[in-house]
Symmetry: C2
Subunit: 433 residues, 2 copies
């Protein structure tokens, strides 16, 4: 947050609407997505509020945030059913009647016609908007968005499904949002691995002072500590750039040995890019992660340049039949062992013809642990052409899904380290089995 | 939401704290997790608020929600760095000094000793709490939780990382929360596929009236429409149970043909359970989903009873070399075709020895689309022992990740349909290529 309080014109808030969110049935991903975009424009997001399908609570949340911010984005509550109350909340807030928008009604009818259906009468309600409002077209669904003004605030109401909300924001909201006049915001991100968050903070020292500009903050997730640098001022651009660059140099000076990337791209994207630069390709052989590593890599568009695919060797049979792990190794050492991890990566490398193969085998829990191999024990092996194998054991704390995600990230860090050819393995904390 | 407004004693709110959340760098999953638990206890969650690392905004959010609810759960802001402000916010709100808790300091020092490190001086701040507050032990990290009272409200402050927050909630918060006296809450969930949300709502008709008890609501996600039934009253338990059962029967009567499950378990868990009941096993062969389907299945603990693993055949080479898709098929029809999908599933079935194999090949985008096969074109093939193959084409709207997730869910629905042996394919809307 900047030290001087931003004005209402510079402030934004996000409201997510729905019982399914407030009772914890569904996860709200819209607030994160919208905040990232609002922040990048230069607006200061002061709050995300999630409220139930309750007219009174909804009207109060809108009123409170529209009083504080000139930009309020709402998602959800625009569906055709009786628990979709955004239209009614706007009408009550503005003290206006709802009117049927004939162009929107025609668009909704066309939506059904395109899939050879007749519009259910219930969808007609989606053509309603407050008399002073404007509908935002929705090419991806039946719910048009709604834009209304209240005092100096503009409320942008978008549908809840991300596949409808995101394009509508890009096409009809973003173009109307402007950066606060004269203020310049610069952000930089530095990612590190191998140090705990408090160790990073201790090294950063005074750089993290809350009254300093640029403001420096840290967050930790899955073994990666991200350092965020954010400069906000009305200073000339060259002054700002030099100030930010100076801070980045300071960060490099104190945690340089732990830096894995100076961008905000996810680790899989950086690994894919490093492989692409070297003209190399990767295969994976996954046991306890069951596809998590492949999923992460292929989430990156264009990953096919560097990722050939792999094997999900969840059962022991699959380990033997598909990547040739000898039965004797499984019998002698168990599926979670250095020997099996190494055989998995070697089989994957040889069969795929790739340049690197990552193999993961471990006890993700909650069951399956033993005294010798407790839940969280994970072996990761990296096999590469013309280089010695790298096999390591980790003891990962946390629940099943955390163990799986952390395992996949750690495997990528092992490969990333090899690609960057940095010195001895410090990386994430390793355990002796 | 229940029709009679709940009292403060029955209300709860969740506050998530952190710049990384408010600028959209990290996704808040804590609010969902906590709300699910608070709701199941019988509390009515009225809001999730996410605020930045800003003392003033944080104090204001706590004050506002502590005035409205007797139970407020906060997550985040308990770390060792200068942007961790929960301790200071509590001190300001309560107008109390922060005191060092010697037992907590000793616990933090032990945490570092266990991993053969010396406690950085910076972590000492985590031993602070408001004078009237209580620390909640954290066996999974360095940040103790804090519990304080303010008027009739109790504030439970938990660390941000889920691996620390969740056990602390279960051990030290949940046991102190009690259901509102005399009020009974029953919830039921019915999942459906094959009908749009408005079609489901149209069929449910008056059952969705907002003034009815039980309250019936719908949410749609990834092709599945979930019907939620929630009864809240002070009536005797047999009256409540009969009333809920009556509503479930009504729901069955009107959408019975589309029901895929009468529980709130995710689809992969229900599919694994159905396979287990039949003593059958599944393999997967994934191209555009790149491991997403395997990841979903293996997210279920105990899935190894019914899931053997599979292949991530991301490149054409892998399709040929690992599951034996003939080169001629790829050349003649392209990787995204009925022929290749079918060859992938047949190869997977034969090589794995499983009872069913699901194969997915498609254009997830954003690139790679053509007039003939636009982005979102996905072929899914199900091969089963002693049954004819089921091969279908879908045109899936949305962005890359949505296409991938929807593809994996649709594949599971195809298998689920076969396992439940329901009649002709209605399922999700299918397209003619």
């Amino acid at each position: 947050m900047p030290q001087a309080s931003p004005s209402a014109a510079e402030r934004a808030a996000v409201i997510s609407i729905g019982d399914e969110l407030i009772i914890g049935q569904s996860l709200d991903t819209n607030s994160k997505w919208l905040s990232e975009r609002l922040t990048s424009i230069g607006l200061t997001v002061i709050e995300h509020a999630t409220v139930p399908d309750d007219l009174d609570l909804l009207v109060r949340a809108i009123r409170r945030l529209a009083d504080a911010c000139d930009t309020v984005i709402l998602t959800g509550g625009l569906g055709p059913t009786a628990d979709d109350l955004t239209r009614d909340a706007l009408a009550q807030l503005l003290n206006e009647p709802l009117v049927e928008d004939s162009a929107s009604l025609a668009a909704i009818e066309r939506w059904f016609t395109r899939s050879s259906r007749v519009m259910p009468e219930r969808n007609r309600v989606q053509a309603l908007r407050p008399a002073s409002g404007t509908h935002l077209p929705n090419p991806n669904g039946t719910a048009p968005g709604i834009r209304v003004s209240r005092g100096s605030a503009t409320l942008h109401c978008l549908p809840g499904p991300p596949s409808e909300m995101r394009p509508m924001f890009e096409d009809h909201v973003r173009p109307r949002l402007t950066s606060p006049a004269g203020r310049l915001i610069r952000t930089r991100v530095v990612q590190s691995a191998g140090l705990g968050e408090s160790e990073v903070a201790q090294r950063l020292g005074g750089l993290m002072d809350r009254h300093r500009n640029p403001l420096v903050g840290t967050t930790a997730s899955g073994g990666i500590v991200t350092v965020r640098i954010r400069d906000e001022s009305a200073d000339p651009v060259n002054v700002v750039d030099e100030r930010v660059e100076h801070t980045v140099r300071e960060v490099r000076r104190v945690i340089g040995d732990a830096i894995i990337a100076e961008n905000d791209r996810p680790l899989p994207a950086n690994v894919i890019e490093r492989l692409r630069q070297r003209g190399q390709r990767l295969a994976v052989v996954e046991s306890c992660t069951g596809g998590t590593l492949g999923q992460m890599l292929t989430a990156i568009a264009g990953s096919s340049d560097a990722f050939v695919g792999g094997w999900i060797t969840y059962s022991n049979d699959m380990k033997t039949s598909s990547v040739g792990v000898p039965l004797e190794l499984l019998a002698a050492h168990g599926a979670v062992s250095a020997e099996v991890a190494q055989a998995m990566s070697k089989g994957g490398l040889d069969l795929s013809g790739a340049d690197h193969a990552l193999a993961i085998t471990g006890v993700a829990g909650p069951g399956g642990g033993s005294n010798e191999k407790p839940v969280g024990t994970v072996w990761i092996s990296l096999a590469s052409r013309d280089q010695p194998p790298d096999v390591r054991c980790f003891r990962i704390p946390g629940e099943r899904e955390a163990v799986r995600i952390w395992s996949a990230i750690t495997a990528l860090l092992m490969l990333d380290q090899r690609l960057r050819a940095v010195g001895p393995a410090r990386l994430l904390r390793q355990t002796t089995p």
